[in-house]
Amino acid sequence: MRPGSGFGGGLGRALLCVVALVWLFPYLWMGLTSLKPLAEIIASPTALWPKKPTLDAYREVFRSLPLARYFFNTSVMALGIAALQILLALPAGYALAKLRFRGKRWALGLIVATLLVPAQVRFVPVFSLLASVGLVNTLTGLILPFGVSALGTFLVRQALLSVPDAQIEAARIDGASELYIVYRLLTPLLKPTLVSFFLFSFVSHWNDYFWPLVLTTDEHARTLPLAIALLREQGTGVRWHLVMAGNVILSLPALAVFAAAQRHLLRAVSMRGFGG
């Protein structure tokens, strides 16, 4: 073991087990509850394993909600935002990192300044703006306000600073257009940054609750987190087995991305940390 680390030995191991339990038990409990009939939940709230495991809760959730529609909306929204952010960040980041032009400092300053304005501050006027052009309750309305990521632009710029000018000049001499340079030549070089940023943006917007809550009023453009949160608000008495089944459906995709790409998400979090 490296020196400087905390506790070793048996005490450390026991503490690790407690930590694992604190962070994993809630997921386990969510899964187990979703497999129990409601009567069983009420009769013995603390019994761990379901006496008669059943998938009825999932059947009920699938029957009562247009889940396919919500999945579609959520995926289109999250993919659309992440893709648009990268599409726009590439040329902007390239111009800011590599090209000389008047107003560059001003443009960079503006982009960094917008990092300070969270969605929670701008939603009142953005809502009234989108309402005035009929974009409330549409996927376009959900995507557009997040189409540019100041953070993404900034990260692309930072990553491009370390690409040698000579490489770009060589491509120009070979007759490459600026579009070719931005989207074909540079993307492989930026791959780690782009993949991490894409995944992080996708997961954040897949999970987003605030903006869809503000901007959708009916089923048409409703997203999954909203629909699952509504499961609890509907009807009389909370049917926890349904809520937990819905919660499993909501959290599994995020956990799957996490399991498949943890390294990238970790990178994104520390980039976000030290990137600005």
């Binding site: 917008t114 000018d165 520390s270």
Partner: protein
Amino acid sequence: MKPSRAADPYWMLLPTLLLLFVFFVFPLGKLVELSLFSWDLLTPAHYVGLANYRSLWRSGELWQTFSTTLSMSMAVVLGSMSAGLGLALLLDRPGRFAAFVRSAVFSAYIVSWVSVGLLFLWLLDADSGILAGAWRALAPGRAPHWLADPALAPWAVAAVTIWKITGYALVIFLAGLQDMPQSVLEAAQLDGASTARRFASVTWPLLRPTTLFVATTSLIASFQLFDVVRVMTQGGPVRSTTVFVYAIYEQLFLDLRVGRASAEAVVFFGILLLLTGAQFLLFRDQESG
């Protein structure tokens, strides 16, 4: 580098700047304008000057929202930072089990606020929740109503938030520990310094910039809490968990008071700017000193 054509950098930046203008710059100006009007979204708006700000101040609403947000945020920052630092020290070791536990803690940061809110609503349920059940099994009498008691609800929501974001502090602290110069720690160990001594006189001082960074970023993030409040308590009971963003949301969508909501958002933004400015100054001092 010289652009191939003089116009190139401008069209490359145009879509980005256009969207930033429409969805960031313009809304901020519009927000300030709206805050000077009284408007219910249905009838025409009329100019009221600073009346919205005055009424927020005089009714005590602004102060109440601010102190609720501040106390919950402080609890979240202190809790998630100490947990994150403790776990980073515990988990800064090789081995598959440690890696697995790191992933488990970090996964909560990736799962949605809605999932976490619903999950803990169920765990904390006063009738059939497993925590209430465990309480009844261990102690006589009913379990406290974590979410229905105004004295407990803010701390219950803060605890859930800590559970969710400790993974963030953990990741940053682990990076800080791994960046630490090994020679210094080895020297301290050779000198026979105990684990506690090594932590107090080597690790902790070296972690200062990391700690400051985690503290300020988590504070700014906690000031923007909304989802978990909307899902778990809707600002209640008796407004005990009405944090800034929830208060603004409530003014706009439940009370249809656009002007007041905007005024509150302007104040909220001012506070965020102050926090960010403080963060900036702290880090400048850190770098020069």
